[in-house]
Symmetry: C2
Subunit: 513 residues, 2 copies
């Protein structure tokens, strides 16, 4: 069983084999010969692919877990997976995990970008050391589950290449990838495919724009480090531009008007950070323009707030934000252009910086996947986080949701859900691996044990100046201490209607996972 | 004497006045009326300008020192200038100073970018606090020295605007600026001008490309933080790309071939850092491709090395670099394309990362200024760092050089020259200010004291792995200790021919300024 790589971009280049460099042949030869293959076992399993890549694992190799994505779910899984049982291959356009709850703090310099990003190679060192484990800086372009055939003799593909009888790979499900070249002129995207024994889809979600015109072009989201960098850069640039002689009062106010759309945790925390930044840094370092800078948080009636009792939560926000200098406006955004946005009632809101954080929805790739979906269009999973229609495929995090048939409601797109799903799944996979079910299709009839159960531990949003809003209704008593959040929490506000308020949280912390 | 702002971009906007907001008029009115001005004092001094801006300082204001640039010279000057005597206005496309000797270390993550950049507002806090002091994120587009007229009654301009007799500004030399908007779509460049009482030109220099085709398009320089960021990004991207299945051996070697052109201190230090990075981080974190990565330093025969006895210095480099895994190639680059460069002898050198550090030359702006030049095309100065052809204009740092008439040789473009010129000049300006000569044209006949004398204190280049090359020929004995360089210096190499070698430098440091 050899590993075939089909080189399209450079047909004269030598075929490059990762695990078994012994069989090397010009790629054009492979492409020509393969079309004449026949096999007694499964004639339809031999396909011409456009890609080179990592072929199905061989008997002397460890089974391969392919993880798509490097967010909370994917990284927690990779961190815990037993690399003596599996080879791990991660495919993601981002070579680090972002500690999203602290991302807002990096926009104004409270934290450095480096502090909220952890390289994948540090989360799972095997990825850069083990010969069969890799990280690929790539987009996933598609998933091929049709050819996922078990590891038994019957499915071995035997073929004749140019007169020589060879035992070829058995076929396996695979992931089609395209490298991210970050628009570097010297590099073109490169296509390849990776066969999996187990596939974990942890592709996350995309920021929702509700189809509102101009959002993608003009607003900045707050989901990645580069978003935070762009926000910081634009904020500073606007501060400096507004100080230039000759700029009109009106333009000055526009440049220094920071508008945040969406009153969820991200929007709330970013507004709080901005408010802090204005109260301290701007007053000191940009004293010429300190009276012109304002923050407005726009929240539509139809948006759900951070917790279920949103009405009261929002009231608490109004109370806190009016003290912090953040204006809270109720409204639905109708249209966005490069210098102003228009609300449903026709109000025009000129802005210099627009941050959009109205929650997330399924990504284009997730929508395009030919897999059963949960209500809301996420990848449908059962209680064991499996995609039940296909073998050996799991989905975790924001991209996944319980199938209607499970009778469970789809879990919210939160870090604590994703993180605990990742944790559950690595235990499950390790257990399967130890029981000898690591190979493709070899865990069909295995007992999987307890299903995944999610217990919400509460929600918290910092609103700047050592204040936070906490909802502990579904939570256990506070019993953990960490230093991460301590600095922020000096005092919290009482939220009525069952949304319990933790007073004197300083030095304590809400255990999120 | 009022402050006129001429608004071009938005004629309906209110005129914005910084120091005296009492007189506000529509800009189109000013533009129309000014063309009818006559003045008994100096008819030619009234000009129509395209710009709004900061007008000449008034009697109740402090004199204004305008500093162009925020490099070693400009920042040292701003740091030391007495802000009780002067208002300081800095115009620069960069809102921070870069500690250039450590920039190479940021490319590979030894240091964080933040560690080598210091905001101007921290170097001179008055810039963000004093009402008459500013930092403008702008390019200097031109300097108008013709209208620099003294602060006496005779040069007051009296005019009639729309029937009202008004006392207008006396004219002063001014700087024409254009804001840097960093390609943000929502901001367009804005033009304005700033009148000066004293002008300090510290515009620095540009990287030399010797007119070689393709350098600007394909090579990365190493002079700014964003250059270092680009190098780091490209280096990591190439490391990841080379690990993708299907990439040919040839392409892999190309992607991981880092070529540095220029064997001056920057090139030497960057090569050393790269070598360190390969020896440590790449081996650990990119072990799949660790044998493919190489560094080549190309040095042309015609380039001057870091010190005068360059032949021996280069020999020392050869010795040290062969131990560090850096290949040293003698050659002249003829042409550069996106994936390879061609040497004079026709050799093709494929590369994945190309860093260009062949020294600096006068910038386009400096070349365009209508001021006498020194040999080499820099702004000509006398021994007191003045531009002698005009009043109240000084030039320091890489953009300036002694006029031939002074009989002195042009000083090298080094941080230690620029820094000490800045230091000398703030003392001179403070002395002038204290003696009442701060206003435009009021220090004509003042005794300036001792001229600037430069004493070279030695040169040093780290070459990675706790090694450095040091030339102390024109230096005093080592007598200072600092922590900055200590970590690097464990051992240095002996350089013959008078280039004394400091053995056992660990814990000591070469005083650069």
């Amino acid at each position: 069983m050899s590993l075939f790589k089909h080189l399209l971009r450079n047909p004269t280049a030598k075929s490059y084999s990762y695990s078994s460099p012994s069989i090397i042949m010009p790629s054009n030869l492979i492409l020509t010969c393969l079309s004449h293959f026949t096999t007694d076992a499964s004639p339809s399993t031999v396909q011409l692919t456009q890609y080179s890549g990592l072929g199905p694992t061989k008997a002397n190799e460890k089974p391969r877990v392919v993880v798509l994505g490097s967010g909370w779910a994917g990284c927690r899984l990779m961190k815990g997976i037993d690399t003596s049982l599996y080879d791990v291959v991660c495919v993601s356009p981002r070579n680090h995990m972002v500690f999203t709850p602290l991302l807002a703090s990096t926009c104004v310099g409270t934290l450095e970008f480096r502090s909220v990003a952890e390289p994948i190679a540090r989360i799972q060192p095997a990825i850069s050391r083990e010969p069969g484990s890799y990280f690929f800086l790539s987009h996933c372009a598609g998933i091929d589950t049709d050819n996922h055939v078990g590891f038994d003799g019957s499915s071995l593909v035997i073929g004749v290449i140019c007169g020589s009888v060879m035992i070829l790979d058995r076929n396996a499900g695979s992931v089609h990838c395209e490298t991210v070249t970050d628009e570097l002129r010297t590099l073109e995207p490169w296509k390849f495919k990776i066969s999996y024994d187990k596939l974990v889809i942890a592709l996350g979600a995309e920021a929702s724009t509700f189809g509102i015109h101009g959002v993608k072009e003009n607003a900045i989201f707050l989901r990645e480090v580069h978003h935070a960098q762009e926000i910081r850069r634009k904020l500073l640039l606007n501060l400096m531009m507004s100080d230039v002689p000759g700029i009109s009062e009106e333009e000055k106010s526009r440049l220094l008007h920071c508008v945040v759309v969406g009153g969820g945790p991200t929007g709330v925390e970013f507004s709080g950070e901005l408010s802090d930044f204005i109260m301290r840094d701007v007053r000191q370092r940009y004293s010429h323009v300190k009276d012109y800078i304002h923050v407005t948080l726009i929240e539509a009636l139809c948006y759900k707030a951070v917790v279920k009792g949103e009405k009261n939560f929002i009231n608490a926000k109004v109370l806190s934000f009016s003290q912090s200098g953040v204006r809270l406006v109720r409204g639905i955004v109708k249209d966005v252009d490069s210098q102003k946005l228009i609300l449903n009632d026709g109000t025009e809101v000129p802005y210099g910086l627009l941050v959009w954080s109205t929650g997330v929805g399924p990504s284009t790739l997730v929508k395009s996947l030919d897999l059963p979906k949960s209500p809301g269009g996420r990848i449908g999973i059962d209680e064991w986080l499996r995609v039940p229609s296909v073998q050996d495929v799991f989905a975790v995090g924001d991209c996944s949701g319980y199938l209607e048939s499970t009778g469970k409601t789809v879990l919210p797109a939160l870090a604590q859900v994703a993180e605990r799903q990742g944790k559950y799944l690595f235990s499950l996979l390790n257990r399967i691996g130890k029981a000898g079910g690591g190979r493709a299709n070899s865990a069909k009839d295995m007992e999987l044990g307890d299903p995944f159960v999610y217990r919400h531990l509460g929600s918290m949003a910092t609103i700047g100046r050592y204040k936070a809003l906490v909802d502990l209704r579904q939570n256990k008593p506070l019993d953990c201490v960490t230093s991460l959040w301590c600095g922020y929490l000096k005092e919290t506000k009482r939220v009525e209607n069952g949304s319990e308020l933790a007073n004197g949280l300083r030095g304590r912390f809400v255990r999120l996972n």
